[in-house]
C-alpha cells in the first residue's frame, strides 16, 4: 500500500466516524502531513487506521459505510439486470432517489447524523440493510429472465410494465417512509433515548425470530397475516409497557417525556417487527416451498407448501412507521424534553472523548 493510498484510507475512515470520534482522526491526519518519508508515512497511516478501527465506534461507522456500499452496488447490479429498459431506468431512479434522500435526511437540513450511542448506530446499519435487501428482492422479482415473477399478466402471460411501475412506486414509498423513520429515530438531534431504541428494536428482533422459528419448525402453524399481525401488536405493546414509567402522572413534563419514550418504543417495535416479517415473507419464497399471496398463478417453480401474506403485513407496517415519524418529529421539537438531555449525555459518555469545538478548528484548516 503506497503512502498516499494509506493516507487516503485514513481520510475515508475519519470521514465515516461520528463527529466526536473524528477529532482523533483529524489529529492523526494533521500529524501525517508533518511526517517525512514515504515508508514512515505509510506505517503511521496504517497504524492510525487500525487504532480507529479497534474502537467500537470506529468499527461500527466503517462497517455501516461498507454495508451501504455493498448494498448500493448489489442494488444497482440487480436493477441493471431488469430486462425492460423503462423498468430498469425506473428501478435505478428509485435507487438514486433513495440514496439522495438518505443523504439529505442525514444532513443539517434533515435529521442530522446518527447519534453516537451504540444502539442507534446498530439500528441505523440494520435499517439500511433491511431497506437495501427489500429493494433487491423487489428488483429480482421485476426481471424478465426466468423465473418470471410478479409483473406477469395472468391472462396474457406477458410482462406487465404498468404493474411493474406500480410495484416500483409502492416500493419507493414504503422504503422512503422507512428511511425517514430510521434516520429520525437514530438521529443525535432527536430526543429518543438510547434505551428506548434498544428496547424497541430488540423487541422487534425477538418477535421476528419467534415468528420465524414457529413457522419453520411447526409446519401446521399459520403463515397468514393474522397471526403475524397479532405478533406485531404484541411486540408493540410489550415494548411500550416495558418502557413506560410506573410513576407516570399526566401533566408533569418528565412523566410526559417518559410517556413519549414509551410510545416511541412501542411504535418502533411494531414498525420494526412488520419490516422484519415483511422481509422474511419476501425471502421465504426464494426457497421454492413458499409463495407470496400476490404472486400470479403458476408462478412457483415447485409446488408451494406455504403461503405468506406479504402485502397484508407491509401495509400496517407503513401505518406504524408513519406514526413513528410523527412522534419522533414532535420529540425533536420539544424544547424541554428530558430525553434530549439524557441522549446527549449518553452520547458523550459513549464516545469517550468530550471534545467538540476543536474539530471545527481543524476541519476548517484542512478545507482551506
Amino acid at each position: 500500500m503506497s503512502a498516499d493510498l494509506a493516507g487516503g484510507v485514513l481520510q475515508l475512515v475519519v470521514r465515516a466516524l461520528p463527529a466526536r470520534q473524528a477529532e482523533w482522526g483529524d489529529a492523526m491526519r494533521a500529524e501525517l502531513v508533518g511526517i517525512a518519508g514515504r515508508g514512515e508515512r505509510r506505517r503511521f497511516a496504517v497504524g492510525c487506521v487500525l487504532a480507529l478501527l479497534r474502537r467500537p465506534a470506529g468499527a461500527l461507522a466503517v462497517g455501516r459505510w461498507l454495508v451501504c456500499g455493498v448494498l448500493l452496488v448489489a442494488a444497482v447490479a440487480l436493477g441493471w439486470a431488469i430486462g425492460v429498459p423503462r423498468i430498469r431506468a425506473e428501478a435505478l431512479g428509485v435507487v438514486a432517489g433513495l440514496v439522495l434522500g438518505h443523504r439529505l435526511l442525514r444532513s443539517r437540513i434533515g435529521f442530522g447524523p446518527v447519534a453516537a450511542a451504540r444502539g442507534a448506530r446498530l439500528l441505523a446499519a440494520g435499517g439500511i440493510l433491511a431497506v437495501g435487501a427489500e429493494a433487491m428482492l423487489e428488483f429480482r422479482r421485476l426481471r424478465v429472465d426466468p423465473p418470471l415473477t410478479l409483473p406477469v399478466n395472468a391472462t396474457t402471460g406477458v410482462y406487465d410494465e404498468s404493474r411493474a411501475t406500480w410495484n416500483l412506486i409502492a416500493l419507493a414509498v414504503v422504503l422512503a417512509v422507512l428511511l425517514i423513520a430510521l434516520t429520525g429515530v437514530t438521529s443525535g438531534r432527536v430526543a429518543v433515548r438510547p434505551s428506548t431504541i434498544v428496547l424497541g428494536a430488540g423487541t422487534a428482533a425477538v418477535a421476528a425470530t419467534i415468528w420465524l422459528a414457529v413457522v419453520l419448525f411447526h409446519p401446521a402453524a399459520s403463515t397468514g397475516a393474522g397471526p403475524a399481525l397479532l405478533g406485531v401488536l404484541a411486540a408493540g405493546l410489550v415494548a411500550s409497557v416495558w418502557a413506560g414509567d410506573s410513576s407516570w402522572a399526566p401533566g408533569e413534563p418528565a412523566a410526559r417525556a417518559d410517556a413519549r419514550q414509551a410510545l416511541v418504543a412501542g411504535l418502533l417495535a411494531a414498525a420494526g417487527t412488520t419490516t422484519a416479517l415483511g422481509l422474511l415473507m419476501d425471502l421465504l419464497p426464494l426457497t421454492g416451498h413458499w409463495v407470496a399471496n400476490d404472486a400470479p398463478p403458476g408462478f412457483a417453480a415447485h409446488p408451494p407448501t406455504r403461503l405468506v401474506d406479504t402485502v397484508v403485513v407491509w401495509l400496517p407496517g407503513l401505518v406504524f412507521t408513519l406514526g413513528l415519524i410523527l412522534t419522533v418529529r414532535r420529540s425533536s421539537q420539544a424544547p424541554h424534553s428530558t430525553g434530549s438531555t439524557e441522549a446527549r449525555s449518553t452520547d458523550d459518555h459513549a464516545s469517550g472523548a468530550p471534545m467538540t469545538t476543536g474539530r471545527d478548528v481543524v476541519v476548517a484548516r484542512f478545507t482551506r
Partner: protein, 111 residues
Amino acid sequence: MTRRPSAQTAAVLRALAGDRGRWRYGYELGQEVDLKAGSLYPILMRLHARGLLESCWEAEPPGGRPARHLYRLTGAGIRAAAALPAAEPARARTARRPVNGSARIASRGAR
C-alpha cells in the same frame, strides 16, 4: 486509575510526566516511547477518556502545516504517573522536536 497500567501506558505516562508543562504531539510522543501509532493513539484516547490527559489544538502552526493536536497530563494524570513504579532503564529516546509553546489551551480533558 483503578487498574495497574500496561507497560506501554506507563511509558506514555512517564514520557508526558517528564516535562509536565509542555504540550506534546502524538508522533513525537510515539518516537520517544517507541510506540507505533496503532498502539499509541488507543492509549492516548483511554487516558483522555479517564481525565488523565488534556488536549488542545496548536494555535499557530508554522508554514501552512495543519494544526497539531497536543497533549499533556492533567493533575490526576500527574498523580497517576507519580504513583507508577520506578521506570525500567532507558527505553525512551530523546524527543526530536519541541512543541511550539504558544499553543492555545483548550484543556477539555481536565474538566
